[in-house]
Symmetry: D2
């Protein structure tokens, strides 16, 4: 059994990870921590765990001691020290936050306002998107688990950019996310009567996932890709839909074949038959990314719709997928979760 | 591997059952049918199954041929003939509908407007509520899987009535159910703009689950129990909450101890600590029934709150629990589903 | 034009009152205050008022100066001093909070934990339920505007209790309220991912509206009426439904006639035709209270369903109705609001 | 009093129009019709009108007889004959459907699959967007009331295109609409458990509002404007948000000034202060269109967010605004509806 520890298990990503790992046949969660709730039981905070999991929030250092692989789900700027300890002790580290996703320190400085305190650590970080970086993940010690929006967008554009089917380096991305993406901290915007029956963009053109998306798209395309990215807040619990606009010169059918080919061996990416439309309803609570392709034939604008459950493929599920790869397990171990039909 | 077949797999209960069985380690779904969709694939109807399950809706008779245990999820009045064939062929039959729940034909006639065509069959039917009838279920051939409302109510009152803590045979039950309870058939009441942001009772005092509830409560209490039962339609996808009002003469603490004792060996019934309130959020997508107890001290009215996921413990999950018992498996095989924290 | 001032206009009831008064043809809001937002514009807090209303939150004392009638929407325990000033200055005072609803100081002490500091004031307070107390409201100086739950319940039981059709003094009341009932203060329970797709009772048997309800029901019935009252939190923005269980000995038809007769001259209470069910959808954003009657014929339990918009008839709308009566206006002036059909 | 008639009053737009006109001080609804419900009362279909409006659905011809201005809310292809009768009888006609919006018959043929049977009528049709065509509306006999999506988009781009601030004729438009946009006809996609907690695009690149949008944008810009338009279905009752991407060379501040100037005399268009984001919550149930402007400074992509209530400014409210103009009333007569704060 893999011994897994979770630092920051009181947040939404952390407790979803705990939930998934509790159902994983080859892993055991040996310890969890949370700065705000040390000494409390997980079920004091989340009653869904009552009589299911008896774990108590303990100190971070103990979590590292008790586990072979450590997951951290923390506000940005806090993960480096845990990663360092893990490296020193020969343990694996998967960061669900943003601290190990950006290759260039200047991007981190610009978008997150902080320096890399331990720049050496970042030389070996691997961007944990299995469908693109599987081989590097196998041997990685530090994984930067991708952001939720970036997962939909990089998977939605990978076949296209890798094969240079795009005729412009400029891409418009319009996304919408359920409210769990904003986490458990209270805010006016998440107050039920304010959020329910509403819809609006936020952080228009300045969302912190922008550099992460551009970094990964540019690597795929081997050219600088520029995006305009506008996220919206959707009054649902879970799920992200990204609608992506990109000029191409191939036909819809040719493009579709490229996508089918690119993902033919992937268990968690489903390219829907032409004519169907991806819908977050049918990936909810699963680790799938569903992609549908559409064309505005009048001027050859390809429209890619890419959807995931932000808490699973967009966070905790993808982290488990990375763990499975690192331990040589079947990639879907503990992840054969089927979305409900309704 | 248990070979399971589902007759009526295109309905909500049927496809939820398929979903749960696909994740069950000891069972395999060998065939499914649906009168309306014969020849179609399950994923044509529910895209969540795309690349997950390749089953095609076939004829009912073939489903019975190909399986050892047959689940039926049909409108009332249709299950007897399938049960008869199963009995004749030595197969097990679990009916998710109402046809094998009522002991007295006159109740079925009165509330469902139909006769029993094969009355012999009903002599051996077992009401599939494991926490009450586990021993009978072990050897049963025909199981009447309990209704969703009755599951919350019978589990909510079992310790009380069995121990005769109630001082009146009259009980008021106010319940609310999510919309999946009404199934997939279109109706004005389920049209999104009509249903969303609404709340109202329906079938006030005349819901068909009434005789099923009274039958089971009366057996527990060894006296005729009368209920007034009012279900409400809740604008959410899943879940039932029943709030039950019953005069008692014991204190809250004594009553609580009786509940804890009654369910101490049950995996799927959680009696919440006093002071907590059961909430459907924390049983959603799981097979748990959460129960909380409260007292209006001013006149000793006990208030029992009992909640389940109507599609899991209230239907498909309970059916799988029954199957596990019938096959001597651990009762939670394939059912260790943890509700999400949000 | 009536000059109206609102103390506590930044809360939900206060700003809904402002919204309604802005559309009132005979009233003008001359001033608003809010302790937390003094110096801000109303539209800084609620953008729906942008270019609609230019009012700035000012000091409470100025609000009283600038208005003839003062509405207060404050946490309990704060209203007496404003009422006193209004009385001294010959102004009218309508309290949307709980401070002027209870006749007996001991009830206030027991349920709210505070004394009456100015007991003299309470001798002249009038419970502002127009359908019951219209004559007293006409000449009142201090109105205690009813609570939202009590409004549904008192209107739902008035014809019954006044005519002594109930055969028991014990009544079970199961209610559900939309989230605006909890106000704008942030809390875990109102965080969108926690509240959405959930349902649960709260303050079971101990909600502070209990003494207010019992006080008014007992006056109607001229006997002490005891209730068990359980409110639930409904994941919608607005609306309350109360489902009330009361034994009677009259038939449903006779009872219905009593209700029709009792409300035949009331503009804002609609007794629905027998066979229909009251639904909050059809009173939303209006000042109506819809009532439907049902009978469990098996043991003569009458079930009354009573629904209002908690922010209109349950708060701001009823306050305006009271104002109209106090000023001799047609009672529906500014209140001919029709609920949307969807 | 203006005598207004509504043909097709049983649909969502029709009954919302009725609701608004019932609160209009200068208009009276004298007759309504509905092919499916002739002989029924409006409140048989929509209980919100019980004791509010006693109108019965009568024959279309009678509606025209009894009114001076006739509104039609019908499936496309049915309005011409009513328009013809109105013209002959000297009555005004406002079509809430699509039959009088397109200038070129070939567009109507291509997108709606039908010919103009009475092409003469279309020569005098006026596109009823008051902020752009107010002068023509004054004297119009036949108004094509704009579509809901087109209203957000044309108002969102009018100042930009009229002043030629766009540097490309290609515009990307990503919109989301609440479910009332799909009307009251039952469909799988609107079944509550299917629609709730979901989000997906539909009619990607082929929505029938495309030619209407391009027609109006091209007229404003005096050049052919091409759009790629992708609508999404939002699980809320009401409201549309359009997020529009258009390259410009002016700064955000200069662009903003142009918008403020363009709409300075408009009552129903609010250009939000820079830094704020338009949200459908704050226009709901009102006739406002809220617009916010944003810039991706990295490559000068202007992002316009434009939001309305699809049933008010996107349909019934705009129709009343047009009626007010045609009758020389203040444009906001009966339309001073303020959105709720929650």
């Amino acid at each position: 059994m893999i011994k897994a520890g979770i630092i920051g298990a009181s947040g939404y990503a952390g407790c979803e990870l705990l939930r998934i790992l509790l159902m994983h046949p080859e892993a055991e969660v040996t310890a969890i921590s949370s700065h705000s709730y040390t000494g409390k039981k997980i079920y004091d905070l989340y009653p869904n765990f009552y009589q299911v999991c008896d774990l108590e929030f303990i100190e971070d250092t103990e979590v590292i001691e008790k586990a072979d692989i450590i997951f951290a789900s923390l506000p940005h700027g806090l993960s480096e020290k845990y990663a360092k300890t893990c490296v020193e002790k020969g343990k694996k580290f998967i960061d669900l936050g943003a601290d190990f996703r950006l290759d260039k320190e200047e991007d981190y400085q610009k978008w997150y306002g902080l320096d890399y305190n331990l720049p050496e650590l970042h030389k070996n970080q691997v961007y944990g998107l299995p469908e693109v970086n599987r081989d590097k993940i196998k041997d990685a010690t530090i994984i930067g688990n991708p952001g939720c929006y970036p997962t939909t967008i990089t998977l939605g554009l990978y076949p296209l950019l890798k094969n240079k089917l795009n005729v412009s380096q400029k891409i418009i991305i319009d996304s919408a996310s359920g409210t769990t993406g904003a986490g458990k901290n209270l805010s006016d915007g998440m107050h039920f009567p304010r959020c329910n029956e509403s819809f609006h963009p936020y952080k228009v053109g300045v969302h912190r996932h922008t550099p992460e998306i551009e970094q990964e798209l540019s690597k795929m395309n081997e050219k600088d890709v520029h995006i305009t990215f506008v996220p919206h807040l959707l009054p649902v619990d879970r799920g992200i839909v990204s609608t992506i606009y990109v000029p191409v010169d191939k036909s819809l059918e040719e493009t579709y074949e490229t996508y089918v080919e690119a993902y033919k061996n992937e268990q968690f990416v489903r390219v829907l038959p032409l004519g169907q439309v991806a819908d977050l309803k049918f990936v909810k609570a699963s680790n799938y990314c569903d992609i549908s392709l559409h064309m505005d034939e009048r001027d050859h604008t390809l429209i890619v719709v890419s959807t995931i459950d932000n808490m699973v493929k967009g966070s905790a599920g993808q982290a488990v997928q990375n763990m499975n790869i690192m331990y040589g397990l079947d990639e879907n171990t503990g992840l054969n979760l089927v979305a409900p039909s309704f």
